[in-house]
Structure formats: C-alpha cells, structure tokens
C-alpha cells in the first residue's frame, strides 16, 4: 500500500528555468535547463532508491543509547556514507572547502529530496551544513581548513546547541557558561537539551555550536543577553596547528529523547563538562532586523534563519510525500459512484478521486505544496541578491518572509499530512501505510527552530516595524508588480484583482499593528493570524507568478498537461484559500480584549 517516493524533478525544472530564471538570471549561474534536469534526475534516483527505503524501518527501530553512545538505526551509516560519497551532502557548498559549488537553488532542490526520502537521516546532513556555513562565516582562519573542510566532506557532522531544559525561547535564562582560562583558552560548562544529532555513529567527529554566557568586564554573569556568545566545541579535541583529531573533550550525552516521530534522528541532552571551546566572531554583515540586545549572537541568528528556511523546506518535503500517498490512494481505492453518470467508470464502484470532497483534499494539498516550493526558491533568490543597489531591500524582504516560511509552511504541511490520512480513512491510521509516520514526523516542524508562535512574534514585533515597515511595503510592491503583469492576460485579471484586495487587507492589518495606541497585548494576540494572512497571500503571489508564466507557454508547450494542472491549482488557491485572508483580518482586529480578562489561575 505504501507509495514509493517520486522526486518532483519536472516541477523544479519548471520553477527554476521558467519561473525564477527570467527574474533572477544570476540564481542559476551557468546551469542550462538540461544541466538542471540531469543533476536533479541523478539526485532523484539516489534518494528514491537508496534513501527512501530507510525511512520506515528506522521509524520502527529508532536510535539506541547504550554506554553513553548513540547508535543510529540499521542502514543509516551506509546511507550517510553513500550520500557523502556521491556528494549530495555538499551540492552548493563552496568549492574552496570541497563543495560542488552548484547554485544554492539546486542545493535547495536536493535538500527537499533529502528530507522527503528520509528526513531523520537528512537532518544530520542538514545541521552539518548549517553549522559549517556558520563556522566559515564566523570562524577563525584555522577553522576553515581544519573544521569546515571535513564537515563539508561529510567526515564530521555539526549541531546547534541553544535550548536548555528550563529555557528555550527565553535565552536570558540560559545557565551554560564559558569562562576564559589563564592560558587564553575558554572552557564551557552547562547542559543543552533537544540537540538534534547531539551524538551518533555516522561520522568520526561532531562540531557543536554552543550558545553560552560569558563573564562581563567585571567578571559577572548578567541576566540579559548582552554577554551571550556562540562557541565552537568539538566532540574530540582538534589540534588547531595541524587539524589532528585528539581525545574526548568533555562532551557527554546525558540522554536521548523518546519522541512522537523523527525517531531516526537522535535528539540528545548534552552535558558540557569543562569542554575546550572557541568563541566565534561576530558576522561582518549581520541582518538589519536583529534585536540590539543580541549583538553577541549574530552567528546564532544567521544559523537560526538558515535552519528556519530549512524547516520550511522540510515542510514542503513532507507535504510532497503525503500528497503522493493520497493521490495514489485516491486513484486506486474504489468506493461509491460519481455523482454524474458520465463520469462513472462502469465498475461496481469508481475510484474515489471522482468524489469532490476527495478532490478538495488533494487540491488543497497540491496547491499549498507547489506554491510553497516556489516561494522557498524565490526567498532564496531574495536573500542572495547579487545587485548591491537592491541587496539590502531584497534581503529585508527575505528576512520578513523567513518566519512565514517556517511557520506557515509547517502548519500547512501538518494539515496536508493529516488531509492525506483523512482521505485514506482508517487505512491512513495503520502504520504500514506510511502516512501516519509522516504525520508524526512533520509535527516537529511547528515546534523546532522556534515554535510557530515565536515566529509570529518575530514577524510582528521585529520584522514588521523594522525600518518603518519598509520590508513589508517592498514585499507588497513585488506582489503588486506580479498583479500588474497578470492584468495583461485576460484570464488572469480576476486573480490579479483578488490578490490586490488581499494585499489591502495585509496593509490594513499592518497599520493596525503599527497604531501607537495599541494595547501592548494586541500584537501577541493577533500575530499568529497575521502570519497566516501573509502565508496565504505569499502563496497566492506564487500562483499568480506561475500562472503568468504558464499561460503564454501553453499553446506551444510539450508539457501542456503539466501547465494546465498548474493553472487548475492556481484556480483552487484563489477560489478557496485566498478568501480566508478577509476573515483572518477581522480576527486580527479583535486583538487582545477577549484574551486577557481571565485571571491566570482560572485556566
């Protein structure tokens, strides 16, 4: 019953070469359409054949924690080695560090395939990528050679150690300490929890990037964030002169979590005991929207933003897998007869795809995930804008959309997995059929890398007001430009008009938040609904962009069915999803009044 993974190569070729390249020609470097297809088909084969079969059994088996060491499920070592051997772990890593040097967007496609095929194994590679990018941006020169290179190669892995048992979002409460030693080195002590890949048997060493407080100039540990710094702590000591790997470095696995899903990914509690630690430097070009109090954490913020975009991609990957299961089931399962006689197959029963409520579930899934995929690519191009004149502008839009991608995508991905399950009825609840694992696995996307409520606050409290609301205005200008283009094509005019109305709702809500007379609780009360508005409009924007491209291609296209399908998915999104923006705006404006009256002890 379980559906085989089929990587969306055609969709990526269309998105990259028909949708993205015309507006961001730099983004694909010298890659031709054929090059892209060739690379992605190779990647697809690898993940479909080598990785996807690992996913189900690893969920059954889980990770093992014995004698202080984590062992990953059967097949993970070989799968990880094959990944690194084939180079799929470093598609867009810089060639100077041993990467393949392909465009980021190709790396992003491969990242999606990785997470679709086996997300719990892919996480080890994904976190390593985030970590070596941070080290190469914020590390000392010796680290580039001796730390980054083996991480890019895949011999070493990486983690991000932020959360502590008593503090996740609120880093002020952090207890982990790093203290300078008389010899000029630093030693770090503390306990970090929920560390993905904190330990495992896939690589010979693990580089932990650890957030810790350091003493201020008076030797005191402050209560605020001003003394927080990011440190590099290697599982095994690394000789900074030669790169040679030495003995253990006071990094102890204190426990491994039993989780709802992603069971092949070891989520560890890590105890750092007088571990040798290296402070990372500040980013030279940190984004403009960071809190003033976080001057010491720019490296962490860069890493978090990249992890948030990565989470958004994982959400797309799960939604893709879930849709695959649902579509196969809908075409194969027989029950009932089509409401119109002309659509009946003539058998005892028709495939359930004839029923409108089943199609509703399928179209809801597909129209979300394909818009999300397009948006993730588009945001990447905004963040990597090469033209200096507009770089700051584009990068601010990318930062604005980062929490939207993380939270809206993960919310909708969970809905998609559940819609797939729903379509399968009781069969969806049975473990062998694959979808219930997706539901359990993808639930974490709403929680990790900052729970979605925190993303919504980031959007409303930091990204919206930054630079007088400039990023939102610039974003909406891009959306407007797409609407203007659509108005040139008769069949798309109604969409353009609908999108402009939705944009007005966003503007109105943003003005509501910006009102200086707002109750201080209003922002938090309405942040999640506003984030959903942004997500729906951003996806509608993508559907209009894709439609703008697909419509003129249609008459002479080889892939007519592909393009017609895109237009139908756009139709669904505009008919059934975009109108929700109006209800959400109303809800935004109810604010905090109906939330705050009840005394805390009455909950």
């Amino acid at each position: 019953m379980s559906t085989k993974y089929k990587a969306p190569v055609d969709d990526y070729v269309f998105l990259l070469h028909d949708v993205i390249a015309p507006v961001a020609p730099h983004a694909l470097g010298e890659m031709t359409r054929d090059d892209t297809r060739q690379v992605l088909e190779q990647a697809a084969r690898f993940f479909e054949e080598v990785w996807a079969p690992l996913d189900g059994p690893a969920d059954e088996e889980g990770c093992h924690f014995e004698d202080g060491v984590v062992r990953t499920p059967d097949g993970y070592r070989a799968g990880y080695a094959a990944l690194c051997e084939a180079g799929w772990n470093r598609v867009s890593a810089p060639e100077e560090f041993g990467g393949t040097g392909l465009p980021e967007l190709i790396g992003q496609a491969v990242h999606e395939f990785t997470a679709s095929a086996c997300n719990s194994l892919g996480l080890y590679a994904g976190l390593t990528g985030g970590a070596h990018a941070t080290v190469s941006r914020n590390g000392e020169p010796w680290m580039l050679q001796y730390i980054v290179a083996p991480m890019v190669e895949g011999r070493w892995a990486g983690t991000m150690c932020l959360t502590e048992p008593h503090c996740g979002t609120d880093l002020r409460l952090m207890k982990t300490r790093a203290v300078p030693q008389p010899d000029g080195s630093w030693r770090l002590n503390g306990t970090k929890t929920f560390i993905s890949g904190g330990d495992h048997d896939l690589t010979e060493n693990i580089i932990h990037l650890v957030l810790a407080k350091v003493p201020d100039e008076d030797g005191r540990i402050r209560e605020d964030l001003s003394t927080v710094r990011l440190f590099l702590v290697s599982k095994r000591v690394v000789d900074s002169e030669t790169g040679a790997l030495g003995g253990p470095n006071g990094v102890v696995v204190a426990g491994v979590e039993h989780k709802m899903g992603l069971k092949g990914s070891a989520t560890c509690t890590m105890s750092f005991e007088h571990a040798l630690a290296y402070p990372l430097r500040e980013s030279s070009q940190s984004g403009g929207t960071q809190r003033k109090t976080s001057a010491g954490m720019s490296g962490m913020f860069d890493m978090m933003n990249s992890a948030r975009l990565g989470t958004g991609l994982q959400a797309v990957s799960s939604a893709t897998r879930a849709y695959g299961h649902a579509a196969d089931y809908a075409r194969e399962r027989l029950a009932g007869r089509a409401a119109k006689a002309e659509d009946r197959t003539g058998g005892a029963a028709d495939p359930i795809v004839v029923h409108p409520d089943v199609r509703r579930l399928l179209l809801k899934q597909a129209s979300f995930l394909e818009a999300a995929r397009a948006l993730a690519l588009h945001v990447r191009t905004l963040l990597d804008e090469p033209d200096e004149a507009i770089r700051a502008n584009r990068s601010a839009i990318g930062s604005l959309l980062t929490p939207v991608i993380k939270a809206f995508f993960s919310d909708r991905s969970f809905e998609s997995a559940n819609d797939a399950m729903q379509l399968m009825g009781g069969h969806g609840y049975i473990r062998d059929n694959g979808v219930e694992q997706l539901v359990r696995d993808c639930r974490i996307f709403q929680l990790y890398e900052g729970a979605n409520g925190v993303q919504a606050l980031d959007l409303v409290l930091r990204k919206l007001p930054a630079a007088g609301g400039r990023a939102l205005a610039d974003f909406l200008d891009l959306v407007d430009a797409t609407a203007s283009e659509a108005e040139q094509q008769e069949p798309l005019r109604a969409y353009a008009e609908a999108l402009r109305k939705a944009v007005q709702e966003i503007r109105a809500s943003a003005n509501w938040f910006a009102d200086p007379a707002r109750d201080p609780y209003d922002a938090g009360a309405s942040s999640s609904d506003f984030l959903a508005m942004m997500g729906i409009v951003a996806c509608a924007w993508m559907w209009l962009r894709m439609s703008n491209v697909a419509l003129p291609l249609l008459p002479h296209a080889d892939n007519k069915q592909f393009l017609e399908r895109k237009l139908e998915l756009a139709r669904y999104w505009f008919a059934r999803e975009l109108p929700l923006v109006f209800a959400l705006r109303e809800r935004v404006e109810t604010g905090a009044a109906c939330l705050m009256a009840l005394p805390a002890d009455q909950f």
Copy 2:
C-alpha cells in the same frame, strides 16, 4: 511533567442542573444536584485513580497477538474487572438487564470520564454498551436474558463488524455472506477488518454484530444494499435454551493492526468461518432520515448513530485531557515577561500564561470543549424527548446534529490536542509528557465510525433534505429562541445579534444546497465546510445558553469564578470563532467548479 487527570465534575453539575434541567426536566429523573455530584465524584475518583494510570504504559506496551489470541496490556484485565465490579460500565443501562438505571445524561458524563482516563480500555466497554443496546432493541426474546444480561454485567463484551478490507463506506461492495441452512439456522462467512475489540482477554465471551449479505428470494446475492442484514455471532456458541456457553464458533482472529495510537485497543481482522449466526430484527421505530436502500440495516444505523455520538464524547474527553496538560504547563513554565509591566511577577521570567498567544491557544481549547460537552448533553435530551407531541421533531434535530457532533468535535479535538502540544513547544513532542499520545490517540476519531467526509455527506445529502429541510428549520428555531432569551439581558444582546446573523448564513447555505439547479458535484464539494459552519453555530448556541443561565446566577453565586469564566469563554467563542461562519459560507458557495476540471490521472 505529565498532568494528572481531573474529571470535570463541577462543569457537569452546572450543565445538568443549571443548563439542561430547566429546559428538559425529565432528563435527570429524580436526581438532585447533590445526587449528581455524589455519583460523579465517586466516578471521578475511580477513573482518576484506577484508570488514568493505565493509559500511558498501555500505549508503550500495546496489545499482543500470539497463537491466534489477543492479550491486552498489563493492568487492563484488572482495570476492566474493577470497572464492572463498581458498575461504571452500566450506569444508565436498564435495571431489568442488571444496569444501574441512572439517567442517560449521567451515563454520558461517566462515558466522558471513562474515555478521558483511558480511552483504549474504555472502548471495550463502550462498544459493548452499543452492542447490547442493539441486541436489546433488535434481538429475539431469548437474547435479552442470555446475551444482553451478561453483556450489561460486563462478563461478555461486544463488537460491531461492518468494514471489510476492500470496502468501508461503500457497503454495496460487501462480500460477507450469511446463508440459511436446512435446519433453519444461519451460517456466516467473510472477513471483517478494523474491528475494535475483535478479540481480547477481558471477558469470557464476545458478541459480534456482523453485517452480511443474504441471498434474495431467488437465492442470488445482489449488488445493492437490499439484502444486507445484521447478524449476531457469538465468539463461543451460546445455547439459546439455557444460555450455557459452549465451544468456539468459527470466529478467528486473522490479524491485529499496528496503529498510530489507541494501542491498548485491539483492532482486529476477523475471519468468520461457517459461524453460527442469528439475524436481528428490524428496529420497530427507526429514524425517519435513513436511506430507503437500507431498510435491512436499521439496527446497524441505530448502532452507528450511537457510536457517532460516542465518538463525539471521546473527542470531548481528549480535548479535556489536552487542555489539562496545556493549562498546567502554561501556569508553570517560565519564559519571557508580560508585555504590561503591571502583570509581571517580578521573577526572572513570568509564567507563559501571561502571553496573549498562549492564552489564545488555551481559550480556543476551553471554549470548544465546554461548548461541545454542553451540546452533546443537549443532543441526548433531544433524542430522548419523552413528550410524544414533539418527539419526532426533537429526534430529527438530534439526527441532524449527530454527524456534526461526530465530525466537528473530532476535528476540533484533534486541533485542541495539537494546540496543547504547540503551547508546550518541543516538550510537547516528547513521549513522557503525555500530550503526544493524545494527539495520536484522538486522531482516530476523525476516521472511525465513518470518516468525517462521510459525516458531511450524511449531513448535506440526507439530513438536510429530509422532510423538506424541516430538521434544520426546527434546529434554527431553537437557536433563535435562545437568542431571543439573550436579548432580555443587556450584556448578551450583541451575542444574540451575532448568532442571528450566523443563523442567516446557515439558512443561506442550506438554500444554496437545496437549489434544484445545483451541479451534482456541488453538495460534496461544500459539505465539509457546511458541517464546520453548523458546528461553530451549534457551539455558539451553547455558549449563549450557558451565558443566559450564568449571568443572572452571578450576583448571588457561590461559584462566582466558575460563572465568570464561562462568560469569558463565551466571549472568546463569539469574538474569534463565530465570525469564521461568514468565510465558510463564502467557501461553500464556490461549489465544485474549482475541483472537477483536472483529469483524474493528473493528480
């Protein structure tokens, strides 16, 4: 971290004696407020102390299937025996069969506690209750004495065997056959799947109610539903003269499912091999809204309706458990500081209940579950109306609301469990903390007893058009009456007005469905959204009824905080949930146009 179960005794006392009794005095018989409290406090103690501790370990352990026999998790046998010993399995079963004979509404409260404490164990008792009610309604006289009595007592259990591997909703495709023998007996052959409690070690016998096709007058098996009948098949042969239990009866467990959740409940594939079967009779008073083709299945429909209401109650029970976890966490977990200085506790961080986005999640959960609990009780009184003059009218409203209770409650219960998890961040994803089990367990409510899409079709295709839309009109009259009452109290006028507007939306949508020019696909395309509208309005109705009652009680009440809390929950529902009805109506009216254009092979 895991929160102890606390049964909602106060809420039931309020609902039963302040909200329900004034409009349905018959419903509580002679029970005084003190009687009710005493019974429910006893029940609460039992389920909190004896049953709740079984829930987590059973999820870890699951059921065992060895040598063709199912063994339930550790502690289930003792827990089940204690349940029957104390009589909590038969609270409202008729005294003539050994039941306690308390009012149905008291039984319903106990049913909620049962499912909250340990739903996978409670299911064995719940299914037994549904089965013996069916046998006592549709069985032969000898069955009342020899089958019903041991089931009521708890020595025997019961199941419902409808689904087959290739057919769930579409019973036309059923392959199970029952054939009359020369000696006048019937023998039944076939395979049934997804049978909850199909086998277990809790009781000495199991009574299966099995749907099967019988030969028509020409000895042929028809393709339609006209020859479907409901049969009683006992796991062990029962002597109809003496009630003595004999040897095995061709009932074989072919397998046990590995499921996402509810792991303590054995979900079996049952093979009936020439099993001795007894046809049940038609119900004497079957509901007016059943399909003509199902004349042979009235017993099954009665049983299904009761199972659907039971599923709605289970949804309330899970939402209650989830809210308990979330509220405890929100009051105890420290992170960030209140946006208003006057609300800060002065510690390094405040409990997260100070943050509006956290309160939003709590209020959304509480305002759903308390309205749902009230509605479930109210629908019970409609279905049990003693006044013959309005019985048909009330019962039709109850039937109209049955799919709403099943589907809307289960959808929102799943959302509630996920909201509880979301509020806990990464901690919610960890198995030890209890909420992730709730998410997995309660997911089945949307799927079993007819997937929610099927409930929506039942609502729109059968319940709405029945008797020219009479049931809906009568339901909305009840809602209007509550609004009129609310208009007498100044603070509730705005709610009354909002509810009347929402009622207009329901009427408009119903008219849209009733339009004879509708595309045949429109009903299915919009059924799920319409069901959600009905659920939201029905809950708003309950909030207005509760407010009508609470407001005048407030000045002189002992339980002032309890009543004030009710008014705040009402406020939330009217501010944030009721307005969704307008967006849903818009979506209803988009119909099937955006769903049906894509060829089936393009999914």
